[in-house]
Symmetry: C2
Subunit: 344 residues, 2 copies
């Protein structure tokens, strides 16, 4: 009871009456082991409750059976879902997941300086975290496969959605409802290097909105592009700013549901009705979007994670298949927060 030393390969070997080398091969399913022998070894291992020492194995092979996952936030809906998806496929494949939560943490510098993943992981997955040039180089210097979700890093595979297309579809929806004064809540400046997602959604917004203005022969309202930092509080503030504008939007497109939630709240507090007075459209299809009747662009978050996980596995098994960036589909989900423009 208690301090019993864990069994080692040799113990199994002795019990099975073979050499350690054979045990190693037998247990890993390598060829070149007679069936009878393998059976005996497996039985012996089971009897002793033998479990390999990852450290020793890793030292000998150079592989760790672990991948590092770097995220900006674990506690935001989008990321936690992503992680959940990734984790599932990795665990199924018997590989462990080392989590690093960077965010706007001051520890980020220290992380990249120390690079605790070095020699600790067989691959790295970066979730929608914009990397600086240096950071990317450091990661690539790890000399293991790199895959990213939501950002495209030269040197790594990436998975994502068609942000631009989805955002255009969203905007078109508002336009079809008759809205022409459409505002946008996205990332606050400065947009971190490489953070393509907010940029693309913004570009799409601008494209559609500016076209609208051109048709109507008027100038786009610059104040319509606001930043909400992808948080509820940020969305709240952004909406506040929009309400302060001389020219008020009749519809708002938020680049994330969380920001849309914030906007809803500001609107409610201001005594404005949604969607009668202003339509609000989000992006994500957050769990609570349904609850709040928020129309939004649904993106298949868990699938993104699973897909990334599978890609990772493929890379681990040496697959050097140059995959072009994987793009998953999105879908406009209409609920109660968007409605046709009412006569002013």
């Amino acid at each position: 009871m208690g301090q019993e030393m864990p069994e080692k390969l040799d113990d199994v070997a002795r019990l099975a009456g073979v050499s350690a080398a054979t045990v190693s091969r037998a247990l890993r399913g390598l060829p070149g082991v007679a069936d009878r022998t393998r059976t005996r070894v497996v039985a012996a291992a089971a009897e002793l409750g033998y479990a390999i020492s990852p450290a020793a194995s890793s030292l000998a092979t150079g592989r760790t059976g672990t991948v590092g996952v770097i995220v900006p936030y674990v506690d935001r809906w989008y990321f936690s879902r992503l992680i959940s998806g990734v984790e599932r496929v990795l665990r199924d494949a018997g590989i462990s997941l080392l989590l690093y939560n960077l965010g706007d943490d001051p520890g980020r510098g220290r992380f990249f300086a120390g690079l605790p993943l070095r020699r600790r992981v067989d691959a790295v997955l970066v979730l929608s975290l914009p990397l600086t040039e240096v950071e990317r180089e450091l990661l690539l210097g790890l000399d293991v496969p790199l895959v990213t979700i939501g950002t495209e890093e030269p040197g790594g595979d990436s998975i994502g959605i068609d942000d631009h297309g989805a955002a255009v579809t969203a905007m078109r929806h508002l336009v079809q409802l008759g809205h022409r004064e459409i505002a946008f809540i996205g990332e606050s400046d400065p947009i971190p290097l490489g953070f393509t997602t907010p940029l693309r959604r913004l570009a799409a917004y601008r494209e559609v909105y500016h076209a609208l203005c051109r048709e109507d022969g008027r100038e786009p309202e610059a104040g319509f592009e606001t930043g909400g930092g992808f948080t509820v509080a940020g969305g709240e503030r952004a909406m506040g700013a929009l309400l302060g504008l001389p020219r008020r939007p009749t519809a708002v497109f938020a680049a994330s549901d969380e920001m849309a939630f914030g906007a809803l709240r500001t609107l409610r507090r201001a005594g404005l009705r949604v969607p009668e007075d202003v339509s609000v459209l989000g992006f994500d299809n957050h769990d609570l979007a349904d609850l709040l009747e928020l129309s939004t662009v649904a993106q298949p978050v868990p699938e993104l994670g699973e897909r990334a996980g599978r890609l990772l596995l493929a890379r681990l098994s040496g697959g050097k298949i140059a995959t072009s960036p994987s793009i998953l589909g999105t879908q406009l989900v209409l609920r109660g927060s968007t409605a046709p423009m009412t006569g002013r």
Copy 2:
């Protein structure tokens, strides 16, 4: 540029003109190294960009610099916050976090059978995951410190809140508002072994509600105890069931905000106003509780995580200080979802 072999201890030793042993000691800040030598070694290491091989170090010392964190869900608010808190303090301490997301996953059995953390971690943290007897034994068999949040496992340290006290406070609030027909939304049966949290909140509910009934000289309504599985959808259903009761509650206490959200939604759909027709009280102080004007019991989730992280660190540095379970405080946060009973 590419395939350069990572440097090893020997390389540093050569550059610094000392032995590998000295480098090892110098770099780890062990005593018995002359200051001048240490400086030289550190410089050499820096120049070569040397980074220790965790595998080798781990093989030699038996320590891994990693802790395993086991959670039932990563993508639920409470857990993601917890993880975030834990991760921060661990990363600050330079130790890595191996994440295992079990949930009601069928892979759970496989996880405990294979026990991928074995020999991979220096400690294990279990987040509000009720363990079966066997599972707990397996974890304890890992022979590393075990700490838990939200559940008390014999053999491990635990951190949590006073669920019973907090729930009683919540219930009292409803009572003070004049409510006497109070329903509860909690865990659905069967409550997993060891999952004390829902049990305690239920017990508190029952205690207060039954006392009320006794005062009024009537039987408690058994149908008032519903299960919502701690999800929005579950809460929705539970509220639906409550509305179907002949005797309808005037207030509902949900053991989690997510379930309360679901309840809100069912109420809204049923055309009932909150809080005029029914008061709703949650538990957690979810990020969106504010947005939804939900009165709730706030628990310091990130602090719980940080606290657990620190406890873990203490245990890792050999601290055998028998800490009694750490209990953090909670606070009733009143918003718009609870109001005095209106005449029926």
